[in-house]
């Protein structure tokens, strides 16, 4: 499925692996939390990039001891209305200092895109029939924010800032 970074489609370097799918010989894979737990040692020993998918009811705390090994954490939106992943992203970055990629996948609408990037999400997986200019547009429709984002480090006022979105292309 297409992956967006800063509003533009990018080449995906990850393979999203189902629990019963065999590990490919080469390349980065994303596995479920359950599979990660079952095959943790083997996945690390494989020497290739690895990431974990979290369901919306799996908190970021589940990965505290694993983050050093993970190149990506993928957060699921089973329904766009289920906003738990917003907090998961914030926890990963702010509480656990996670520096790898955070991606969001599942049912996401463009109107959520700016919120996601402000909380430290890098990439969004979008169904092919939903790719379009709306995503890049959504990053710039509103140029003002009243809260600090993850990127802001207390150097700006608590309540008001201009949001500059950088669109890649």
């Amino acid at each position: 499925m297409p992956v967006l970074d800063h509003g533009r489609e990018i080449e995906d370097r990850w393979t999203d692996l189902a629990d019963d799918a065999a590990l490919p010989a080469e390349g980065g894979v994303i596995v479920s939390l359950e599979r990660w737990r079952a095959e943790r040692d083997a996945l690390i020993a494989r020497g290739q990039p690895v990431g974990v998918r979290l369901k919306s009811n799996q908190l970021a705390t589940e990965l505290v001891d694993d983050l050093a090994h993970l190149g990506v954490v993928a957060l699921e939106f089973p329904k766009f209305r289920d906003g738990r992943a917003f907090s998961a992203a914030r926890e990963l970055r702010e509480r656990f200092g996670y520096k790898g990629e955070i991606r969001a996948f599942g049912h996401i609408i463009p109107d959520q895109y700016q919120f996601l990037t402000r909380l430290g999400v890098d990439t969004v997986v979008v169904p092919a029939d939903r790719v379009g200019p709306a995503w890049a547009h959504a990053l710039n429709e509103i140029s003002i924010a009243y809260q600090p984002a993850l990127q802001d480090h207390g150097t700006v006022s608590l309540l008001r800032r201009h949001v500059k979105a950088e669109i890649k292309g």
């Binding site: 209305r81 289920d82 907090s87 429709e141 207390g154």
Partner: protein
């Protein structure tokens, strides 16, 4: 930095220049117009079928647009209830041009328009934006419009002006990236005085100002209050959070709730359920853990921000007046109807020679909270003449002019009386809160507006109402409790019994600092019986009361038994 310019006291300033409202700066204006354009585009995308109705629904809700029984309803935010005459006149214009000529004040200090058309909504939002108003987050599963004490900035017992923090919370919660898709809606109320006029304990989060031992000001924080089908009073989470830390603390509350609140069942999704299923101690422990590890510096409210916002709410230029007005005293002596109004509708002001006037939007037999465009305009004129162009909407669906000279009260009342807004019933039995019920609401079991109207007519005699004293009736047409029946001195709940409307009576609720939930007395009454039943409760009270007792005082002393007996013995 926020714009700190406050209109100058000398130049040709507008008549509402000193109204205690927050005035948008360039930053806010940019935001609000971008938001209107965003919604315009969203409506277009919806009309073209690029997004589904399911996806459009939370977007329109985030912009205050509901679908009711017969039509769309637009709920416009009145931040913490504060209006100036410019805003009020614009609301009147919207009522006239885009609706059927009236609006409805709600229990959350907002105003609703019941009949707008979808195609007009972007234009309405644009008109609102021109006067620093919006409909953002008046519905949806987000942090809703923050409510407060309608006497803020005028009451004598205030420790901190709650508008300053309500405005800070308004900004902080506006399009909050993390807390806009919560398990359920989230309502915050804030009281700047120990005497709670904002019903804080029935909110998801309630804040009451308090001074600690060192004389510093902070808030006591309650979490997990709410009405609905499972009512709870809030649990005290923290006795004291310094004012500068309140956003950080709320981030911790919201983050904990966003992650752990139930999403499997909308009736169990409010924070009150999370708190009480988990046990308040455990939940509060999690909040404290989250708070302890937050980067607190980031959320610390800089005193410069507070100062800049305080300027918007600077006290208006009150005159130095004697505490007693001879003119006022003479008018009371000469006109008993006016004297009666002063007994129910005035409250003490902190400045000598001034009073706080409550304008009843509950005329006898009227629809609680409904107001016509012409009345809105007339009130705006009166506010300019007598109260610095400022008005407040109360959670009891009335209006308040907070800074009226005692010398002017008689003229004010005469003018109000002429436009049907001079009823002397604030806090009395006909000052009823009623939800929309079957007249508008798709979830209703029963009517509630007509019940309110009939009770009001039954007790139309104002002398009788004054004799009964403070008595709060609150009516909901189903268990969702939009009419606050759980906190009515007398609550009325509409239930469906085999397709027929029935009404249960609850007694003993209280929404103030002595908050309590009302209890059901017994089986319900039919549509034809309910007003008689209310009268039975009232005459029972009159028979039992001791001098000086209010209804809830008598009830607390006697318990429910005599009322139950009176209600059910006659059957």
């Amino acid at each position: 930095m926020p714009d700190t310019t406050v209109p100058n006291a000398h130049s040709n300033q507008p008549a509402d220049a000193h109204a205690g409202v927050y005035r948008y700066d360039e930053f806010d204006k940019t935001f609000i117009f971008e938001r209107v354009e965003q919604f315009r585009a969203q409506v277009e995308r919806r009309l073209k079928g690029e997004i589904t109705e399911e996806e459009f629904k939370p977007i329109r809700l985030m912009n205050g647009l509901y679908l009711q029984l017969h039509a769309y309803m637009l709920r416009v935010a009145v931040p913490y209830g504060m209006l100036d005459s410019t805003k009020m006149r614009r609301l009147a214009r919207i009522a006239r041009v885009y609706d059927k000529g009236y609006g409805h004040f709600t229990t959350r200090q907002n105003i609703q328009f019941n009949w707008p058309e979808l195609k007009d909504i972007p234009a309405i939002l644009h008109e609102l934006a021109e006067v620093d108003m919006h409909a953002i987050q008046t519905s949806g599963n987000c942090i809703r419009n923050v409510t407060t004490d309608q006497f803020c900035g005028a009451a004598a017992d205030e420790l901190v002006d709650p508008r300053v923090y309500a405005e800070i919370l308004r900004q902080w919660s506006t399009l909050h990236p993390e807390f806009t898709y919560l398990p359920r809606k989230f309502k915050i109320a804030i009281s700047g005085a120990p005497h709670d006029r904002a019903a804080v304990q029935i909110h998801d989060v309630g804040l009451i100002a308090k001074k600690n031992g060192a004389g510093e000001v902070g808030f006591t924080v309650y979490v997990g209050g709410g009405l609905g089908r499972t009512p709870y009073l809030g649990t005290k989470a923290r006795d004291f959070v310094p004012v500068a830390e309140i956003i950080g603390y709320l981030e911790a509350v919201l983050r904990t709730y966003n992650q752990l609140g139930r999403r499997d069942n909308i009736y169990k999704a409010r924070i009150k359920i999370t708190v009480n299923e988990m046990g308040p101690e455990k939940f509060i422990g999690l909040i404290e853990e989250e708070y302890a590890r937050l980067p607190r510096q980031k959320y610390y409210i800089d005193p410069a921000i507070v100062e800049a916002i305080e300027q918007h709410f600077a006290p208006p230029p009150w005159e130095n007046l004697p505490a007693v007005s001879a003119k006022f005293e003479a008018a009371k002596a000469a006109d008993p109807a006016f004297a009666r109004w002063t007994r129910s509708n005035l409250s003490a002001h902190r400045a000598p020679g001034y009073a706080i006037a409550t304008i009843s939007v509950k005329p006898i037999g009227g629809i609680p909270g409904d107001i016509e465009a012409e009345q809105m305009e007339a009130v705006a004129d009166l506010a300019e003449r007598y109260s610095f162009g400022e008005m407040r909407v109360t959670h009891e669906q009335n209006l308040v002019l907070a800074h009226v000279k005692q010398d002017d009260l008689y003229d004010l009342w005469l003018a109000l009386d002429k436009i049907g807004l001079g009823t002397a019933n604030a806090g009395l039995i006909s000052d009823i809160i009623a939800c929309p019920g079957l007249d508008y609401c798709a979830l209703a079991n029963t009517r509630s507006i007509p019940i309110a109207q009939q009770i009001s007519e039954r007790f139309a005699d104002l002398d009788r109402q004054h004799d009964l004293g403070e008595l709060k009736i609150k009516i909901s047409g189903c268990i969702n409790a939009c009419g606050h029946h759980h906190v009515g001195h007398i609550g009325i709940l509409g239930v469906d019994k085999k397709g027929e409307e029935f009404f249960q009576i609850l007694l003993g609720g209280d929404a103030t600092q002595t908050a309590a939930l009302a209890e059901i007395v017994g089986p319900g009454f039919s549509y034809d019986e309910i007003v008689n039943a209310v009268e039975t409760v009232v005459t029972t009270f009159v028979g039992l009361r001791q001098p000086g007792e209010r209804f809830i005082d008598t009830l607390a002393r006697t318990g429910h038994a005599p009322f139950k007996e009176a209600l059910y013995a006659r059957a």
